[in-house]
């Protein structure tokens, strides 16, 4: 058990490690939409409008600006719909939270369901006939596997 705890502890520290790296143009491009091609991310688009945006990103990267400053510049120019990632504020927070809330609800419901099934199993609320059928089905499947193995031998 102790070994298990040590291993878990090590894993915990392992996953905490996160490193930083230099900003590239493509990392900024991914977060922007081409102003000339609505709906198309800048890293996919190749139109001349996109080229102008890319040139501006290069210029700002050369000045040493960080990603958020560059994105803010484009938001000022074209509005928030130039971003591929909705800003984490106001109603947009729903988009970020909803999947995890849905997961949480799903996990809780699944947990309750399993608990109910487990309770039914322990109290034997399923009828004897059903249990017998279930057991029979299970045994049949096991027999089938053994039969198949035997047939293979015969082959």
């Amino acid at each position: 058990m102790k070994t298990f705890q040590i291993l878990t502890g090590l894993l915990f520290f392992l996953v905490l490690a996160v490193t930083a790296h230099a900003l590239t143009r493509s990392e900024v491009e991914k977060n922007l939409i081409c102003y000339a091609c609505p709906g198309e991310a800048l890293n996919i688009d190749r139109c001349s409008g996109g080229d102008r945006m890319r040139a501006e990103i290069d210029r700002r990267l050369a000045l040493g600006e960080d990603k958020q400053t560059i994105l803010n510049f484009f938001v000022q120019q074209f509005g928030e719909d130039i971003l591929t990632v909705p800003p984490q504020k106001g109603f947009n927070l729903v988009a970020y939270a909803a999947p995890f809330v849905a997961l949480l609800i799903g996990l809780v419901l699944a947990g309750l369901l399993i608990r109910r099934w487990g309770a039914a199993g322990r109290s034997g609320s399923g009828t004897r006939e059903e249990d017998a059928n279930s057991e029979k089905l299970y045994r049949e499947m096991e027999d089938q596997v053994e039969d198949e193995l035997k047939k293979l031998e015969d082959d």
């Binding site: 298990f4 291993l7 090590l10 894993l11 392992l14 996953v15 905490l16 490690a17 490193t19 590239t24 143009r25 493509s26 991914k30 977060n31 939409i33 709906g39 198309e40 991310a41 890293n43 996919i44 190749r46 928030e80 719909d81 971003l83 591929t84 990632v85 909705p86 106001g90 109603f91 947009n92 729903v94 988009a95 970020y96 909803a98 999947p99 849905a102 997961l103 799903g106 699944a110 369901l113 399993i114 608990r115 099934w117 487990g118 309770a119 039914a120 199993g121 609320s125 399923g126 009828t127 059903e130 249990d131 279930s134 089905l137 299970y138 499947m141 198949e148 193995l149 293979l152 082959d155």
Partner: protein, 650 residues
Amino acid sequence: MVTLGNLSQSAAFITALAAMVLLLIGLMRNDLRFIEAGRRALFAVAAFATMAAFALSRLFMTDNFQVEYVASYSDRALPLFYKATSFWAGQKGSLLFWAWVLSLYIALVAWNTRRETTRKNTPYIYLILAGIVSFFFLLLITVSSPFELLPFMPQDGKGLNPMLQNPGMIFHPPTLFLGYIGFTIPFAYALAALISGRLDPDWLKKTRRWNILSWIFLTIGIILGGQWAYVELGWGGFWAWDPVENASFIPWLVSTAFIHTSIIQERRNIMKVWNMSLIVLTFLSCIFGTYLVRSGILQSVHDFGATGLGGFFLVFMIVAALGSFLLIAESYGDLKTKHSLESLLSRESTFLFNNVILLAIAFSTLFGTMFPLISEMVTGKKLTVGEPFFNMVNTPLFLLLLAITGLCPLISWRKASVDNLKQNFLLPFGLALSGGILLFIFGIRELYPLLAFTLSLFVSATILLEFIGGARARKKLTGEGLLLAFPKVVWKLRRRYGGYIVHFGIVLMVVGITGATAFKLEKEVTLQRGQSMEIGAYRLQYNDFKSYQDRNRTVYAATLGVTKNGKPAGDITTERRYYINARQPTTEVSLRISPKEDLYLTMPMIGNNNEITIKAAVNPLLVWGWVGGVFMVLGGIMAIIPAGSRRQTA
């Protein structure tokens, strides 16, 4: 041919309606003769649909540009191969393709069930399928006929979008459609079971192969789509979380959940409501994908724009959803499971959690896809939700799914003891952790990639243990050597091991995707002849430039000498093409693939004096993603190979 096409479509619609009427009369009067007549009418629907499909193919082959659809997607210079596949390049043709394949699937069901017409649920299966196919033919003959004529005969057609002139794109749409359409069959069986009250797992057993086959097609379609994006679009990626890509991914996730829990219902006769709901959701999500592509409600590089069909599909979806869930609600008492689990810790429980995670990913993908519309309705502001958002939200969910994929095989069916779990768990966990520590030492320090690789090791170890365990069991039973027992047990229990091969494919895919997204190198440089650029271990020197005419395009090709780690590694040529009748040039991707990494080159611009702009990328491990896709498909195929096929061939 135009007349043949129009008449065939109309005849298919009328025959489908006639089949419905005959089946209804047969059901009301309990008269088998009418049911048999209705069944036979389904073959006629398939025959008429085939004639319509033949007519459209012939119109493409003979360059009949008076047909508006042919003029829009073909031209005289288009190679014959692409002319044949232009059939499904546009909205109208793809709708006919859908109706045609569905009618063939229905004919197959009608043939396979020819001795089952006396069963209570069979006529309902026919009725539901006839209803669905008649909807598609109704659209074809009223609002979306591919046989509409132009008032004049153009000299030439507009041609096929150059980006679609790629082998991956030829098979990507039809395989996706084969998947989408295939789920109609289990949906019809499920509804028929609800209507007829035959709620035993028979419908699941009968549709198991349909489910897995449709899932395989959907998988192939999605992978081919990613492969097409990678080698054709030239942006260096393979999945952009575009609304239409998402529309294909959602049914894949829901159907994957369904395939897992249908195993539980088959084994234990529990989760009936859940499975009914999942197959309904799978079918609805397939129709939703079609709706999304044809409604124009969201902007995507893949959609057909506003086609006027959005409303029809929306109504169809609402009717199908209401009808299905009302039927489920009505049968809830009968569907409600009376069986129970002996233990909270069982494989059944892990399947349920796996379902929750798969559905959470499906929900997050759907919600993110629809969020621009939701946001516009609530706040009045239209936003765009792109790749970084989906990666941010879905990556933790995928990692959770990967973890449970590894945990599942360690937990026994029905009842698992904690001691047993510990015994099974310790070795794969130890292996994965050791691997994780080594990866950390060797420089992988980012959280998600480290977790993805560590969990991949964990899942691989559990799968390996499963295979070894099976071979050992057979060895013990038969006395065979381990090397002989291994393939024999895998083949004999191919449904089970096919599933594990699919899981291993997913592991490889995770490795490929993680490598190519987390450790990707990218660079864009403008070069004069003789100049060079460096990326990773590669040095690329611009050596040569030429232009020439090739069939329906003018090609501009630049050749670069490649040096890797200072050693010469041959030449690589990248192209820019101008297709006849196309309004914009295309970049052709040049690839050098190795197990370690892909070197990826495109030439987005050509300047004066043959100055070129090269966009280069190094995508580590990506090839394993494609290999993983092959494993997934092979594992799926293995799981549906019928027992006894070996004996038949002998």
